[in-house]
């Protein structure tokens, strides 16, 4: 078979995934599909059969890639970012009934007591951001971030709330933000997955793998969990005894035979398969290479607090919470990995750190004892990440997002005991206002956005919905949140849902 024929066959019969991709924008045919199509017509390389090939965004992007740090369980904004002296005045007094009327809580029953902020606050940097003593390193980089104090959600259980943040629906079955972004923009390095997930804290986040699933998008867009133990990507390593050289030779034989099969069948899907096997072979080197943080110089490791090769006992414990140690570098290692992945062209890196659900009802989940440990685990790592991205010139077009799935109540969780007990100070889930922060590509620096009332209960200025956040993140990446859609089951589905209530947060854009 002549080469020209091979190419044209590839060009007109693509993988199903790719065909589906042309449907972007539904019947209105968004710029995305057109551009991709015209690109193909202009004589794209055979690699264009790859559904992860980079695609031009719909709008001019401010950010090209994302590192999303999710603290699963939801940290208390009142101990980290929200300085509310009024709470101290009402400490252990009954919560005003107005806070409880018409509200549903996960665990609070009856009339709970107000709980003062448990840690000291100070203003930091030129912007004067309020940051508590639990985040001394963050305090130093606060000027680089935009802290949003008024995020609101309508889900008060972990799994549905996490799903809502990451997939736009509290129920299962929808694509995650990372999948949407990878679908819309592709990925620059075809030897690495476009959407990588890294976990720490010893447990999968409550929403499970659905949080990085592809939902109704083709499965090629689902997040690939890279692990620090065992194969970094499942089945990446050759079987024991079958070395790389031997693998090459099996692939050579395979290629030869598959090529013969293509010549017999004429099905270009066979050519795609040959290409995917070759890509797998390259990934066998590129993934472990990028995952190997031991090559980083000491000052970079120190910047994050990373320790190559460290395996925390908490990562495989039945109840990791009671084993948490402040100097556990698992999350720090993941932050450093995130930078390496981003640097190597990965589009979306999602970190989940579990263990932030501080109710105070059992050991290892208290605000007074566990929260400081968790903060210690992430504080240096997060500030290190921002500094490192900045010194490499990556912060300008990398969006960093930090937050949980909801916040925590100004009231202490009304357990049977009404007095404070060491190791059992806790707060329940709070949906009306909580803190997240963004930094990097297209985000204003040193901004505190939104204000809550004196208890940190409700926003009094600039309430920000999850939909707003999602719309804004997509917008920053050059994806028009209102038009970026995927036709499925009779709807042009969007991350922001069927209504246009999600608004781009112009106030936080640089």
């Amino acid at each position: 078979m002549k080469k020209t024929e091979t190419t044209s066959a590839l060009a007109d019969v693509c993988a199903v995934t790719r065909r589906h991709f042309f449907k972007t924008g539904g019947l209105s045919l968004g710029a995305l599909a057109l551009q991709s199509l015209l690109g193909r017509e202009a004589g794209a390389s055979p690699q264009s059969g790859n559904p992860l090939a980079p695609k031009a965004p719909m709008l001019t992007p401010k950010a090209k890639r994302v590192i999303y740090l999710h603290m699963a369980g939801s940290p208390s904004q009142l101990e980290l970012f929200e300085h509310k002296p009024e709470l101290a005045k009402l400490h252990l007094k009954d919560c005003p009934p107005s806070f409880l009327e018409g509200k549903r809580f996960a665990f609070i029953k009856g009339t709970p007591k107000i709980l003062a902020g448990q840690f000291k606050f100070k203003q930091h940097g030129q912007s004067g951001q309020w940051v508590s003593e639990l985040l001394p390193h963050f305090a130093n980089v606060a000027d680089k971030t935009c802290v949003i104090r008024t995020v609101q959600t309508d889900q008060f259980n972990h799994a549905p709330a996490q799903l809502f943040v990451h997939t736009g629906s509290p129920r299962l079955g929808n694509p995650s933000l990372g999948a949407w972004v990878t679908y819309g923009l592709g990925s620059v390095n075809e030897n690495l997955p476009g959407f990588v997930v890294l976990l720490s804290g010893g447990k999968t986040p409550d929403g499970g793998k659905s949080l990085w699933g592809s939902g109704f998008l083709p499965s090629v867009y689902q997040g690939v969990q890279c692990r620090t133990e065992g194969d970094p990507v499942l089945y990446l390593g050759n079987p024991a005894g079958l070395d790389r050289d031997m693998r090459r030779r099996t692939l050579d034989a395979l290629k030869q035979m598959n090529q013969a099969e293509y010549e017999h069948s004429g099905d270009s899907e066979t050519l795609t398969r040959i290409a995917q096997y070759e890509l797998a072979y390259r990934m066998q080197v590129s993934v472990p290479e990028v995952m190997d943080i031991s090559k980083e110089p000491k000052h970079i490791l120190d910047l994050y607090g990373a320790k190559p090769g460290f395996v925390s006992p908490a990562e495989s414990a039945d109840d990791p919470r009671i084993l948490y140690k402040g100097d556990d570098p698992t999350f720090a290692n993941n932050c450093l990995l995130a930078r390496r992945l981003i640097e190597n062209g990965v589009r979306f890196v999602q970190l989940y750190d579990w263990g932030w659900d501080h109710h105070g009802s059992s050991p290892g989940e208290s605000i007074d004892e566990t929260l400081p440990i968790k903060c210690q685990q992430i504080d240096r790592a997060v500030s290190g990440l921002l500094l490192d991205l900045e010194q490499r010139g990556l912060l300008d077009d990398t969006l960093v997002v930090w937050g949980g799935e909801f916040g925590r109540t100004p009231m202490m969780q009304n357990n049977v005991r009404t007095e404070l007990r060491k190791g059992y100070v806790g707060r329940d889930h709070h949906t009306s206002a909580y803190t997240m922060w963004l930094a990097g590509g297209g985000i204003k620096r040193g901004l505190a956005y939104g204000q809550t009332d004196e208890f940190g209960y409700y926003p009094v200025e600039h309430p920000v919905s999850i939909r707003d956040l999602q719309a804004t993140i997509q917008h920053l990446l050059g994806l028009d949140p209102y038009r970026f859609s995927y036709a499925y089951q009779g709807l042009n589905n969007r991350l922001i849902g069927p209504t246009d209530e999600g608004k781009i947060l112009n106030g936080i854009l640089a």
Binding site: T17, R19, H20, K23, R104, L172, P218, R249, G266, G490
Partner: protein, 986 residues
């Protein structure tokens, strides 16, 4: 007109490119000669671009104009006529969609929608041709097309469509290929080369037909086709969400396999699953049980066991899931949108959604941890065992009553030493409700907080009081067993501290207690700990938590009262875990405390208590081992719910009550159908319902051809793709409905067609005219499903287990994948037969599905997966190259290659034959032989690598074969199992 043609040409090049394969225009690139058809051509444009503001959704309707209603669209309005039949130039619609004025153009710029010139032209032509109206194609009745006599109907219809493209059917595939195709399609497994050889020796139509019938009769048919149904049924072995705990639902999977094997007609298949519990109960117990098992279909919804969830919220979510899944699976429509507002594209209003929801909103299940209502499925042996335990416990309890009667008579003399005190006031500080009983005891009920403090104020008569007695009294639990504590597990209690105060007019005065003694105390929990002033220690009675216990405390100084007084006794219970007393009684004595001892229980009675406790434990263990299948059960008539509209889809924001019923656009319930799930089932399979047979026929076609006649299997509504061959779809739909809803007959009809049997090679002309094979210009060629890839590898390597049914199994998966929050269950790699069961039986955990299945586009069972969109990725290559399952298969295949023959060339050829079934082509083994020789040399140089590979692949080396040589054959077999042709059905 001329200008227009040029205009069209200019665009046509781009549009052809853009629209080929796009919904809904994939159907036809229309010639100008063919009249425009409303349902196929016009309605999709209007619904996608106009209905959002001028359609069924009354809330968002602009200027009161509806374009989904003919009378409205053609009515004379103040500004003119929107659609004037035959007069495009007078039609406002055309003026507005062609306007260049941003304020006038439709759709408005804010809608982010724009009509293409071709779409505008379709509208113009349609109006010019008279603007004849109609319904969306899929809502029109199914019409059996007129067919030429003497021809296979499918072939006639396919050929007609192909002829329009200048194509004809391709010749029949080579017999070996055809045999493999048929086996993989019908039973999901390859034939043996011998079977294919036999067919190749006589590839007559009669022999082919025989093979079809044999395959349809195989039990593996049900196993293979069940996967399709389980995808739709969102079947999984866990409950979903955060904890994602296991649930026993595999009997439903086995029901599906059996129903398919029995070729249960679709109407019965539908009715039993949606409403098996509402059918008249058959006399046959087994049949009645089967019908209930079928209803587990809609118990595949998720249950959220996360702490602090509102059960009603997730009950409602499950009911909505049932509504959406039902409509999606049977009618190919999405009702979900109407949860929050009237559907913008399809005729389903907000109120109609909840009217339909009301029919599903009457079942007992309520997002409970136990997944009740459940059906216990007992084997005859289990039935016997259950009976044994019931009788055995009855016997023991009778004996207990007798012995206790004797004991209580014996203790009457001792009882005179004590005076039971009347509780004047009882209070539990932390939540329990205390109630004074007529026998002087105090019982706790209601809330069961982890810790509680009971405060009892007693009236002490005048006189001397030397000691205080506390009796912990057992109460009967729901299990039938007795327990003294409120703890749900051991029924234990821990009395952290017992204190007493004398309450006098002047105030309360503590009374010191001393010399604590009890009839029994748990190891390291002595009764003295209850008066040691330390809340962290206490008196406890495990494991003897099923019998009464007595503790005595002396007053350090006997109380000598001249008048009646009050004694306040505080029982502090701070151990947590609801280690609190169920019922207790207090008494004092007036005789010398030195004479007072706690009663001793007879050894005989104590032994009986032990025996009882052991029996109850054994019974509980037995009960836990029983299969409890979640099923549907309708609420009793007096408990039925009133369904109200959920405003914006929120169950907390209820609107008006709705009238239960089905959406009007799809016809009423059949005459006599009840207003419940049974009625819904009858409505779905009613002869007049055009959607069910179309959706199902299309689904079956798609499984056999790789793509549906309607490509969007999940959407037969306004935004879905139009059928590529509407007459063919209607023929299949009519055939399915009229053949008695027999799936096997439908499949038989399809696979006996020449269209199905065509060779799959892609020729230049085919590639040009039907690149995606939407018109069946060639035989279908596509990658196998996740399960088939696994099953096939195990089959050709001789490892596959033929065992059918039963609990799901755990074939090897990488360690450390299961880390669900608050869920201790772990994955344990199966050994023996269960390691090699068909993929259908692999345990499916929703939040952590078996990784290799999802890599090949299998679902997680979280929502119904209507079709699997096939992908082709490097991660798939990594699975079949490196997953130990595939290495074990490679070792199995290598063994079979070696046992069959002796020369290297013949062995390589044997490997190819076993995998690909067809005869080996000349020269085909050369790359494999070269690889094998290479590998052998490498292993000779590094035998430790050969050893490692033999170990991972669990190789069983045939006699007389060297270890290095066998390792090299494993490498060769690993390559064969990754051939594109092997992974593909062609």
């Amino acid at each position: 007109m001329k200008r227009h043609t040029a205009f069209c040409k200019r665009w046509s090049k781009l549009l052809l490119l853009v629209l080929a394969g796009l919904a809904p225009f994939s159907a036809t690139v229309r010639s100008a000669a063919e009249p425009v058809r409303f349902g196929r051509d016009v309605l999709p444009i209007l619904s996608a671009n106009c209905f959002a503001c001028h359609g069924p959704d009354e809330k968002n309707r602009k200027v009161g104009l509806r374009l989904d209603v003919e009378a409205d669209a053609k009515a004379k309005r103040r500004s003119g006529v929107v659609i004037a039949p035959g007069e495009p130039q007078k039609s406002l619609l055309l003026a507005r969609i062609t306007s260049t004025d941003p304020d006038a153009v439709m759709p408005p710029p804010s809608a982010h929608k724009q009509l293409s010139p071709e779409q505008i032209e379709i509208i113009r032509r349609w109006i010019a041709e008279g603007a004849s109206w109609g319904r969306h194609w899929s809502f029109e009745p199914v019409v059996r097309p007129a067919l030429p006599a003497g021809q296979n109907a499918i072939d006639a219809l396919v050929k007609t469509a192909l002829a329009q493209k200048g194509l004809a059917l391709r010749p029949t595939a080579a017999p070996h290929i055809l045999a493999r195709r048929l086996w993989l399609d019908l039973v999901g497994l390859p034939p043996t080369p011998e079977i294919a050889d036999k067919f190749a020796a006589d590839p007559s139509p009669a022999a082919y037909e025989r093979m079809v019938d044999e395959l349809l009769a195989k039990p593996q048919f049900g196993e293979h086709w069940a996967r399709m149904w389980l995808d739709l049924a969102r079947y999984a072995d866990t409950k979903g969400y955060e904890k994602d705990l296991g649930r026993t639902i595999w009997p439903f999977r086995d029901w599906v396999v059996n129903a398919l094997n029995a070729d249960m007609p679709l109407d019965q298949f539908t009715t039993e699953q949606l409403a098996g519990d509402l059918l008249p109960k058959p006399a046959d117990e087994k049949l009645a049980e089967q019908r209930l098992i079928a209803t587990a279909f809609h118990r595949n919804t998720m249950t959220n066991d996360e702490g602090g969830t509102d059960n009603e919220e997730f009950r409602v979510a499950a009911v909505k899931d049932r509504v959406d899944t039902t409509v999606q699976v049977w009618m190919g429509l999405t009702m979900g949108c109407a949860k929050c507002h009237s559907h913008k594209y399809d005729p389903i209003s907000h109120a109609e959604y909840y009217g339909f929801y009301a029919l599903f909103n009457q079942t007992e299940d309520a997002d409970l941890y136990t997944d009740v209502p459940v059906l216990e499925l007992l084997t005859p042996k289990e039935q016997d065992e259950r009976k044994y335990w019931q009788e055995h416990l009855q016997k023991l309890n009778r004996k207990l009553t007798e012995l206790e009667d004797v004991a209580s008579k014996a203790s009457e003399s001792g009882a005179r030493q004590w005076r039971t005190l009347v509780a004047a006031e009882v209070l539990a500080k932390d939540g329990a409700t205390l109630t004074a009983q007529t026998d002087g005891s105090v019982a706790a009920s209601g809330k069961a907080p982890p810790e509680d403090t009971y405060v009892v104020t007693l009236t002490l008569p005048a006189g001397t009081h030397t000691a205080l007695r506390l009796e912990a009294l057992p109460e009967k639990l729901s299990s039938g067993q007795f327990g003294v504590g409120r703890n749900g597990g051991t029924s234990n209690f821990v009395l952290s501290e017992l204190t007493a105060e004398l309450v006098e007019a002047a105030g309360a005065r503590p009374v010191t207690l001393t010399n604590a003694r009890a009839d029994f105390a748990q190891d390291k929990k002595p009764v003295a700990a209850a008066i040691d002033g330390d809340e962290k220690t206490g008196w406890s009675v495990n494991p003897r938590t099923h019998e009464a216990h007595t503790a005595l405390f002396d007053f350090a100084a006997p109380l000598r009262l001249t008048a009646e007084a009050k004694l306040r006794v505080t029982l502090s219970q701070q151990a947590g875990d609801t280690m609190t007393l169920r019922r207790f009684r207090l008494a004092t004595s007036d005789i010398s405390s030195a004479l007072l001892q706690p009663p001793t229980i007879s050894p005989e009675l104590r032994a009986l208590h032990d025996e009882l406790a052991a029996a109850y434990t054994a019974q509980a263990k037995f009960n836990d081992s029983l299969v409890r299948l979640p099923v549907m059960r309708e609420l009793a008539a007096d408990k039925q719910r009133v369904t109200k509209i959920h405003r914006r889809g929120s169950f907390l924001d209820l609107g008006d009550a709705v009238t239960p019923g089905v959406p009007a656009a799809f016809g009423a319930l059949p005459a006599g159908a009840p207003l419940n799930r049974l009625g819904v089932a009858q409505w779905l399979v009613n002869r007049d319902n055009p959607l069910t047979p179309r959706v199902w026929a299309n689904r079956i076609w798609a499984r056999l051809f790789g793509v549906g006649i309607v490509e969007t299997e999940e959407d037969f509504g306004a935004l879905g793709s139009a059928p590529t061959n509407p007459a063919l779809l209607d023929y299949l739909a009519a055939e399915y409905r009229d053949n008695g809803w027999s799936l096997k007959k439908l499949i038989r009809t399809i696979v006996l067609s020449d269209a199905y049997r065509q060779a799959s090679e892609v020729t230049a002309s085919v590639r040009e005219a039907d690149p995606r094979n939407l018109w069946q210009a060639r035989g279908a060629r596509f990658r196998l499903s996740a399960e088939a890839i696994r099953d096939q590898a195990l089959a050709v390597s001789g490892l596959l287990s033929a065992k059918m049914g039963g609990p799901p199994v755990m074939p090897p998966q990488p360690a450390g994948l299961w880390r669900s929050t608050y869920n201790g269950k772990s994955w344990i790699d199966a050994e023996g037969e269960d390691r090699f069961r068909r993929g259908l039986y692999t345990y499916l955990k929703r939040t952590t599905p078996y990784p290799t299945m999802t890599t090949f586009d299998g679902g997680s069972g979280e929502v119904g997966q209507i079709r699997r969109i096939r992908t082709n990725t490097p991660l798939q290559a990594l699975v079949t190259l490196n997953d130990p399952v595939y290495l074990e298969a490679a070792a199995g295949l290598a063994r079979r290659m070696l046992l069959a023959t002796t020369t290297a060339d013949a062995r390589a050829a044997q490997g190819l034959r076993l995998a690909l079934i067809r005869p080996v082509r000349p020269g085909e083994t050369a790359p494999l032989l070269a690889l094998w020789k290479d590998a052998q040399q490498s292993f000779a140089a590094a035998p430790e690598k050969a050893e490692a590979l033999l170990k991972t692949s669990r190789a069983q080396i045939p006699d007389g074969v060297s270890r290095n040589e066998f390792a090299a054959w494993i490498v060769t077999a690993n390559t064969i199992l990754n051939l594109d042709e092997f992974l593909t059905r062609n």
